[in-house]
Amino acid sequence: MRVFLCAFCLVMTLSSHAFAKVLDIQEFVTEKGIKVWLVPDQSIPVIALSFAFETGTERNPPAKQGLARLLSNTLDEGAGDINAKNFQARLRDHAIDFSFEAGRDVFSGNLRTLSRHKEEAFKLLKLAVTAPRFEAEAIERMRAANLSSIKSNIGDADWIASRLLFDRIYKGHPYALNSGGTLASMKALTAGDLKGEWKRIATRDRLYVGITGEVTIEEAKKIVDDTFGTLPEKSTEKPLEKATMPQVGKPVFYAKDMPQTVLWMAWDGISVSDPDYYAGVVADYIFGGGGFSSRLMAEIREKRGLTYGIQSDLVNNDYADRYVVMASLQPANVAPTIEAVNKIADEMKSKDVSPDELTAAKEYLTGSLPLGLSSSARIASTLVSLQLNRRPVTALDDYRAKIEAVTPADIRRVTARLLNGQPQVVLVGAKPDGLELETLTSIPNAETVTKQ
């Protein structure tokens, strides 16, 4: 596959809160013990299959940062007796979309095919999973594409800001590392590393599959066991420690010649299994997650014209949860914006949200469920993320009830947890006025591996 330049590739694994009631999900475990959620759909002649192994870049040691990423780029570059060029040509000539993705906690794959090309599609999928070639030519080509992508990132302010932020808010944990790899670590990876990494990742006990389209339950069972059934049954990896939020320091600043400053603010977060999680979803919508209607947008963009956009997000991972706010502004507006965000945060913590504001948030969050599930690929990947979040198959119905149950008191309680104390601030770009800063002149784990 091609390696895309992506400023936000590292940024976040969002909690999946777009569930819908319209899906008729069939849940089953195959003979080989693989967990599958299926939504048969005859409306268009397409089948989409998503899968995820619950382990990711967090297991790559500092010297091998980028290993899972390079693996994700190389797995679809030739398998069995088909070389890279022919493998890609067969995908393309049958209009099959197929790619792998390396996340912090999950290593996933997505496939979409026309029903009439399904035999070819599942044959190629099986080959990629069971017999990747890892040819030297393909590895070198993908390594070069990754090195190019890292170099582009080093010039990108949003990417630099996320890199600096992760380095601080996950300090001492593998999440602080660069999952896309450093220039030095990417250069050192070998074919042996890639083979070992795939062996480490691909076990059936932590594999979750989601399928939708023109496919029956019998067919789905056969496809899944045929594709993944010969993988080893169990992994021996132990869970990692949680990444606690470190002591917050002065705003971290990295200078770059540009007219704006990229601003990130981060607090500790709450987990998707926390009893207050759904209250957190509603609170975030009102505070800064709800687009044009959020309090941050209303004050900082709509009323004062200080930015093109400001938003907040719940960032949930297996071993850490954080709450972040991000915006781009002129340097003179950074301090006033931080002040405004803190003021809006204090209001959220000290005063009940109005009944109307709360109703509006609930109406959006419950009403938008089915609208988010209008393409095959979205449905299949949602079926996987629901399983990864340990939701029951009834999660879609539960979601509506859980959102409806949130009260103003819940919002105040959860906001006090999400916006607790001073945030870690990261600034990249033009130097902002009126702030005491810790100035950095290099980006950790970008060019070389940084000592922990």
Partner: protein, 443 residues
């Protein structure tokens, strides 16, 4: 340019629109008494609809000296009408469980909402009201002007690639409004006014210059009564025809170089002026096939320059055929480590010449047509996609039949047509070559 922060205007490949045996969308069409076109694409998958209104006016309609006005006006359409106060439009749509946004290009401005189907009548009423009853407060106009200037600082002035692209377009379209940035030049943005925006609004926003496109769980039969009671109540107005200044044919090679100390990865770009679909259907079909044959990682350029010669780490081609006037065909390449842009440029040029000298095989053409026709099935695999694709085509001058039968039309192309288009349009001096590269640090 897009109003919202996180919405990405995906480059919808012109190719991704069709299926050989059928029409791609099976769209239904009608025209209201006041001249407004109505197109409905039934997709009965989820009980929801995407509702779009496209105006056949964009940045290319701005008078000289007030660049950015069309896009600024798009932002101002969220700043209040008698029944929907400033800031409430999106809030009302979100309370329906829906999402809304808008975007502006050179040839069009579009507004859209995705909502549960039972809310369709409500969003139609709101959208109809802001077609001719916009009443923003001047203080909101002022703060929104700051917002669009921040948008330019964020999306253009902080991105060297975007700045280079702006200067390349200016060289590619001399004396034509396509050479002007949609968001506007900063000195002119500082002078954006409500008076100019209102004049643009009165001149171009009218039912007979708008197209209603709806995709999702509905039919023309259901939509027409709603359309008549909302948009149908608006009066037909005199709208000028699009009169753009002509761009002269310019000989010679134009090169734009942009160097900055913070760039680590050089880029090579060549932008060419080629026929749009509206101007020349047959050439545009060939250019679509060329995009497929040259671009992508199984395409000719990648296989030659990345796989065989190892002079590039990536190379791609893109044809943007939806345009009222000339369209663009763009080649992109990233050099392999240690390869100069000069050497890379020579290699791309030679690779294209080699392809032109040997041409394409019948089998290559047949496979490309087949995969483009297969991909067209995916055009219906989303809610908003069909309305987006059909809208782009209609407002850049195509008929619904052109859009529906595109994949079938590909079958008429011979390998000589495609090779001919390569020689005539892609191997050409009529383009602009851009170099984005690191600047050596001054001692």
């Amino acid at each position: 340019m897009i109003r919202r922060v996180s919405f990405l205007l995906v480059f919808l490949a012109w190719a991704a629109t069709a299926h050989a045996s059928d029409k791609v969308y099976n769209a239904q069409h009608a025209t209201l008494d006041n001249g407004m076109q109505v197109i409905v694409i039934p997709v009965h998958r989820t009980p929801a609809v995407t509702h779009m209104v496209w105006y056949m006016a964009g940045a290319a309609e701005e008078p000289q000296g007030i660049s950015g006005t069309a896009h600024f006006l798009e932002h101002l359409l969220f700043k209040g009408t008698p029944r929907v106060p400033a800031g409430k439009f999106s809030e009302i749509v979100q309370r329906m469980g829906g999402n809304d946004n808008a975007f502006t290009s050179w040839d069009y401005t579009a507004f859209f909402q995705t909502v549960p189907k039972e809310k369709l009548a409500d969003v139609m009423a709101m959208e109809a009201e802001r077609m001719n009853d916009l009443t923003p407060k001047l203080s909101d106009v002022y703060s929104e002007k700051q917002v669009v200037m921040e948008e330019r600082r964020q999306n253009i002035e902080s991105d060297p690639g975007a700045l280079l692209g702006e200067r390349m377009r200016q060289a590619l379209f001399p004396n034509h409004p396509y050479g002007r940035p949609i968001i506007g030049w900063m000195p002119e943005m500082q002078g954006l006014t409500w008076v100019d925006s209102l004049a643009f609004y009165k001149k171009w926003y009218a039912p007979n210059n708008a197209v209603l496109v709806i995709s999702g769980d509905t039919t023309l039969e259901e939509v027409l009564p709603l359309a008549n009671s909302t948009y149908g109540q608006l009066k037909r107005e005199d709208v000028p025809i699009r009169a753009r200044t002509a761009s002269p044919k310019m000989d010679g090679t134009v090169r734009v170089t942009y160097a900055r100390p913070d760039i680590r990865e050089p880029q090579w770009i060549r932008m060419l002026r080629v026929p749009s679909v509206r101007q020349d259907t047959k050439s545009s079909l060939s250019l679509s096939l060329l995009e497929d044959l040259l671009g992508g990682n199984t395409g000719r350029l990648y296989q030659d320059l990345v796989v065989s010669q190892k002079l590039a780490s990536n190379v791609d081609a893109a044809y943007s055929g939806y345009a009222w006037d000339d369209a663009t065909f763009t080649l992109y390449a990233t050099p392999a480590s240690g390869v100069s842009l000069e050497k890379l440029e020579k290699a791309v040029t030679e690779a294209l010449a080699k392809i032109a000298a040997h041409g394409f095989t019948d089998d290559e053409i047949k496979k490309a047509v087949g995969r483009m026709q297969d991909s067209a099935v995916y055009a219906r695999d989303s809610l908003a996609g069909p309305a987006m694709n059909v809208g782009y085509g209609i407002v850049t001058g195509l008929t619904l039949d052109d859009i529906e039968t595109w994949p079938k039309q590909l079958e008429a192309l011979s390998k000589d047509d495609v090779s001919g288009a390569l020689k005539k349009f892609v191997i050409s001096e009529a383009g602009v070559t851009g170099w984005l590269l690191p600047e050596e640090k001054k001692r």
